[in-house]
Symmetry: C2
Subunit: 358 residues, 2 copies
């Protein structure tokens, strides 16, 4: 078992990574202060893993909520349903919300935990690669609004993240690819070595090789934990984690969160950020090409010809990264050399959108 710590003073918490951790009830119990647990999963993950997880939890009162699967259900209405269950079962402030599933389950269960009685304990048991390398770590919780992604939410750190790599065996390959987009992102942000390693090991990752997946998860969490510890509430450096996301969120939003998996949109978004960096004269075109090749090998989309540049631009403007009317972007000087800026030629943004869209 691999252990990392997200350093946030009194709210520090461990990330545990390893095969079979989901059945290790002792690991979870340590972070459950009271008697009552709300176990949140979805219609796909619940039937696969809820029984195994519950077995380890011993003598607790466990109430289950099974959410519909998919980003299109990540709404305030779904969170409201969870809150109703908490109230109806008279859960007290010492209860714990356990999220068993991917990013959508974790984001919503975390937001319910943040809002119920102004904050109750929360444990993440991510079962997708994307959730294990990204969304379960760092305390961002929330839901989408018809007007934009993750516009409603809270910062609410979990008490623990328990990533069982065995669960990836049942993960559809499309979801595995989507998760790899976030791993590639970490390489692009600050770790060219990781990027090169991905170029060498992409096929092993796609073949679910345990050692390679564990390394990718560990290194991703390490980078994310380090950035979150430096800037929990995204006043500065944490914005780096949004590399590819301002483009990606717009792609998801324009298509009503139904066509693209989040990681797929991020994949295309990463390439758009790279193109934009090249169009702005920051990064050599050869690096953009290197990224394109890696994304193609990961089976990720690199364009969206069916979408209009103007429509996507419109959706980018409502993103949280807009500051006083100007869209802030994460751009790159090199692979592993990203930075946040609002200072770029508007024409480059236009050319970038036209290069990848309809």
């Amino acid at each position: 078992m691999n252990t990392l710590t997200v350093q946030l003073g009194s709210r520090s918490y461990p990330i545990l990574i390893g095969a079979g951790l989901l059945t290790r009830g002792d690991l979870i119990q340590e972070h459950v202060p009271g008697r009552d647990i709300l176990l949140v999963s979805n219609t796909i993950v619940g039937p696969l893993y809820a029984t195994a997880l519950k077995k380890g939890l011993g003598d607790r009162r466990i109430v289950e909520v099974t959410l519909p699967d998919g980003e299109s259900h990540k709404t305030l209405a779904t969170v409201s349903r969870m809150l109703d269950v908490l109230v109806t079962n008279r859960f007290a402030r010492d209860c714990t919300v356990v999220a068993l599933g991917g990013g959508v389950v974790g984001d919503m269960a975390g937001f319910a935990a943040a809002c119920y009685q102004r904050g109750v304990a929360f444990v993440q048991v991510p079962t997708t690669l994307l959730a294990q390398v990204d969304s379960s770590v760092g305390g961002k919780t929330g839901v989408n609004h018809p007007g934009g992604k993750n516009l409603i939410g809270a910062f609410h750190q979990p008490s623990a993240v328990i990533a069982d790599t065995e669960t990836l065996k049942t993960l559809p390959v499309r979801e595995l690819r989507a998760g790899l987009a976030e791993v590639i992102k970490y390489g692009l942000i600050c770790d060219e070595e990781l990027f090169t390693w991905l170029e060498q090991n992409m096929e092993k990752l796609l073949a679910h090789e345990a050692a390679e997946l564990t390394y990718a998860i560990h290194r991703s969490c390490e980078i994310k934990a380090e950035i979150v510890a430096r800037d929990e509430r995204e006043q500065g450096d944490r914005a780096l984690l949004n590399l590819g996301h301002t483009f990606g969120h717009a792609l998801e939003s324009v298509t009503g969160y139904t066509k693209w998996l989040h990681g797929e949109a991020v994949g295309a978004g990463l390439l758009m950020a790279a193109t934009m960096s090249s169009e702005s004269g920051l990064m050599p075109a050869a690096s953009v090409e290197r990224l394109r090749k890696l994304l193609v090998r990961a089976g990720l989309p690199t364009e969206a010809r069916e979408l209009k540049p103007d429509t996507v631009l419109e959706h980018m403007r409502i993103d949280k990264k807009v500051k006083s009317g100007r869209i802030r972007l994460v751009l790159m000087r090199a692979i592993g050399g990203s930075f946040v800026t609002a200072d770029y030629p508007d024409a480059a943004l236009r050319r970038t959108l036209e290069a990848h869209l309809g």
Copy 2:
């Protein structure tokens, strides 16, 4: 102008108390980081003060939301409406939510500010005595659930609290009385001197005497700020501020938040807490009588004969102060000597409910 500071490290903020502050736009502007302001008020307060407040805000984009008046509208649905307005107007993360009104407006506007883009700036301009002495200070925001009061919410500290004592001139006397319940509470918690001062000045307060009201607000905020600074998230001492509230919340909840003003329910709740303290052999009956007299002089209710003890007890059990099945209460050893406990005779609770209810 009186100034106090709530000491919370980097999130410290001022409480400004004085006559005419609402028109002092400069005081508010200092705490508004960006161009966009959502001004939240209700159908009663908006028409009275929104124009004066806006005049001082200068060259900002101000969008107004006017909520229906009353605790029965303090719901997730109303907050959702505010979030829709924020999204529809494409407000960015540097926007500010300004709450102009009483506790209900402040609690909901604050919760919307907490959730929008995971937290935007928030300024409280309380216009009721209750909001000025209690709810606008300390960062508790949220809404009611049909199953209980304030069960959904967030801790989200304001950037400033601006209490204009002039606004109390238009406050109905029933609301003034309700606010005085919270002032009496501070005396009971930790300041017998304040309690004695209230016994000497109750008529002046009810006659809207400016100097006396300002003193009562200042001293109340001072006590609250000190307790909040010590225990922002109610892990310990902050629970003292719930004196009378576990009883009071149940009275409000049983009656569907329509019959009692919050302060009225707290008034009756304070006396129930005192009776309970006496029934448990903690406080002399003479002190209970002293409190009863003061409440009667303030025009506050001291009983609720139309409610059944069993029904109220049932509603107390879903309160946030329940820990592992046991209701935690704030009791008193003396006026000014309150403490939190779950260690009391159940028979005393039963006798207390029977002494004040049907």
